[in-house]
Symmetry: C2
Subunit: 340 residues, 2 copies
Amino acid sequence: MSVDDRKLDVLRAIVEDYVATQEPVGSKALVDRHHLGVSPATIRNDMAALEDEGYIAQPHTSAGRVPTDKGYRLFVDRLSTVKPLSAPERRAIQTFLDGAVDLDDVVSRTVRLLAQLTRQAAVVQYPSLSRSTVRHVELVMLAPARVLVVLITDTGRVEQRVVDLPADADDALVGELRARINALAVGQDFASVEARVTELTERFGPEDRATVAAVTATLLSTLIERHEERVAVAGTGNLARYGQEFDHELEPLLSALEEQVVLLRLLGEATSPSPVRVRIGSENAQSGLLATSVVTSGYGPGELALASMGVVGPTRMDYPGTIAAVGAVARYVSKILKAH
Amino acid sequence: MSVDDRKLDVLRAIVEDYVATQEPVGSKALVDRHHLGVSPATIRNDMAALEDEGYIAQPHTSAGRVPTDKGYRLFVDRLSTVKPLSAPERRAIQTFLDGAVDLDDVVSRTVRLLAQLTRQAAVVQYPSLSRSTVRHVELVMLAPARVLVVLITDTGRVEQRVVDLPADADDALVGELRARINALAVGQDFASVEARVTELTERFGPEDRATVAAVTATLLSTLIERHEERVAVAGTGNLARYGQEFDHELEPLLSALEEQVVLLRLLGEATSPSPVRVRIGSENAQSGLLATSVVTSGYGPGELALASMGVVGPTRMDYPGTIAAVGAVARYVSKILKAH
DNA sequence: TCTGGCACTCGGCCCTTCCAAGTGCCAATT
DNA sequence: AATTGGCACTTGGAAGGGCCGAGTGCCAGA
C-alpha cells in the first residue's frame, strides 16, 4: 500500500470517527479504532501532511484533527462507499409512500420520510410547473364580474386564481373562452401555451376583448410565475437535536429554512434525476448555511427532473447514509410519479 | 391604596420586569424601577404573601422572584392594560396584507406578519372547510376512467381529488353528474350537502351507479375530512433567538410545530372572532409546550370564526403586546375576508 | 402597618491548579 | 526512505476554593 493510499485511509478514518463521535480525533484513537497497521507517530506525519494540504485542521494546538470542508469534499467524491439502505429502511420507504393519495400527499409524505430517515431537516420541492404540460383549464364564474381560473397539469397539480373582470360576463362568453383555451392549450407544455394563448384575444369581438385579456393574462401569470413554486419542509427539530454545536447559528438557519427563495436556491436547478448532489459548508455561499451541508437529488417521472428534494444538516453528517437515503427516496418517488 | 391593590401592583411590576430583563427580580430592583412609594422591606412582605398564594416563585433561595404560570394568568386576566399598536405597526399590517392576491396568499402573509410583529412563532389555520358553503363543484375527465373532482368554496378555497372510476365513463355522464351535483350542492353548507348528495346515486341508471357512487364518495370525503385542515407556520427561528433558556426543550417544540394535529389542537376550537385567548405554560398540557404560552384569536368574515390564528412563545412573553398584535391582525384579516 | 437593620444563604465569578490528550520533532531502527 | 519510540511542550477543560453581591427572612422600633 503506497503512502498516498494510506493518507487517504487516514482521512477516511478521521471523517468517519469525527462524524461518529463529534470530537476531534487524535492519532492514538485512530490506530486503536481502525487497524491501520502502523504506529501513531506515522499517522501523525500523515496528518501533518493532510493538514498542509488543507483537508483537516485542528481547532487548537494540542487537540485532535477535524475535517475541513475540503476534506469532506474529498471524502464524498472519492472515499465514501455507497451504504445500501437497511431492509427496514427500504420497507419504511415503500409503506410510507405507497399510502399517498395525491400529489400533495406524496410531497408531504416524502418530506417527513426524508427527515425521519436522515434525522435531519428535509426539503422537497413541489413538481415544477414549468416542465409540466396542461391537462385542462377550467373557468368557473363566481360572480358576474369574477371568474375562477383553474389550471390542471399532467402531474395532477391544480393551481387556481381569481380574476376580477373589467366588465360583467355571461356564461356563453365564459363557455366559449373555456373551449378555445382548452383547444389550444391541452397537451402543450407551458412555453407553447404562452406562445399560443396571446393571440387568442383577437378572435373575440371588440366588446369582449378586455374580458378575454384579463383571463388570459391571469392564466399566463400562473404559468410563468415560478416563484410560486412551493417547498415543503420537515424535521427542523432534528437540527436542534444535532446539538448546541450550532449555537447561535441555529436561528439564521431556521429562518433560512422558512424562506422559499433560499430553499429553492438551495435545491438548485433540477437537472436529471439520477445523481445525488452534495454541497458542503462554505460551498453553499449562503449566509446562514456555512456550517451546513445540503444533499439533493432531482426527481420526476421521466428522464428530466421535475423538481428537487434534499436534506440539510451539519457538515459533520453521515454522508454515505444520507446520500443513500436521498437517492433511494428520490428514485422511489419518481417511480410513483411515473405510475400515475 | 389598600394592601391588596399594592400586592397586585407588585405582581404586575414583577411580571413586567421579568419579561423585560429575563432575570429574577428582587425587592430592591422593584422599588428602584417602579415608584411604589414604599421600602424594599414592605415589598418583601408582599412578595412572601404572593409566593404563598402561588403567584411567584424563587428559583433558589437568595434569588429574586419569577412569576409562575398562575401569576401570568392573573396578570393577563386582571392586570395588563391593552397596549395599542404603534402607528408603524398598524401601517405594516395594512401594507403587508393589502397586497394579498388570494386566500392562500392572505394566510401566508398573515403568518409571516404575525411572526415578525411578535418576534415569536406564528401559526395560522386555513379557513376551515366545515363552516363554508359550496360555491361550485367541477368534474374534469382526465382519462376514460379517471375524474378530477374540484370543490370550490365561498371562501375561495379550492380542494381537488382524483377519482379512479370502476368503469369507463363518457362526457355525457360526467356532464350530467356535474349538473346534478351543482344543482343540489351550490350555496349549501357542508352538512346539507352531505345529506342531499347521498340520495343522488338512485337517480342514475343501474349501469352508472357504481361510477356515480365513486364520485360522490370522494366529494363527501373531501367535505368531511377535517384533518385536511392545513396550517401555516412561520418564525420558528425566533424561538431559537429567544435564547438558550429553552435549551433541550427546543427540539420537541420544533417537532410539535411541524405536526398538524398538535397545531390544530393548539389553536383550539375557533368560536367567535373577538376575544383573544391566552393559554399559559402548563395550561397547554402538551408535552413539548409546557414552557410556552399560546395566544390565539379566531377570525373570519362573519360573526362566527372560520379559523384561528395565533402565536407561540415562551411563557415569559410580552403579553399585552402579543395580545394586541394577534387581535389587530385577526381583525384586519377578517375585514379582508369580508370584502372578498 | 411600615421601616431599617442585621444575620444568613447561595449561585455565579474568578483564580489557580492539575491532568490528559495530543502534537511536533528527533534520533534510532529496519 | 520510511517507520518508530521517546520526549518535551502546549493547552483546553475539569476540579477545587474563595470571594462577593444580591437577595431573603425576621425582628424590633416607629
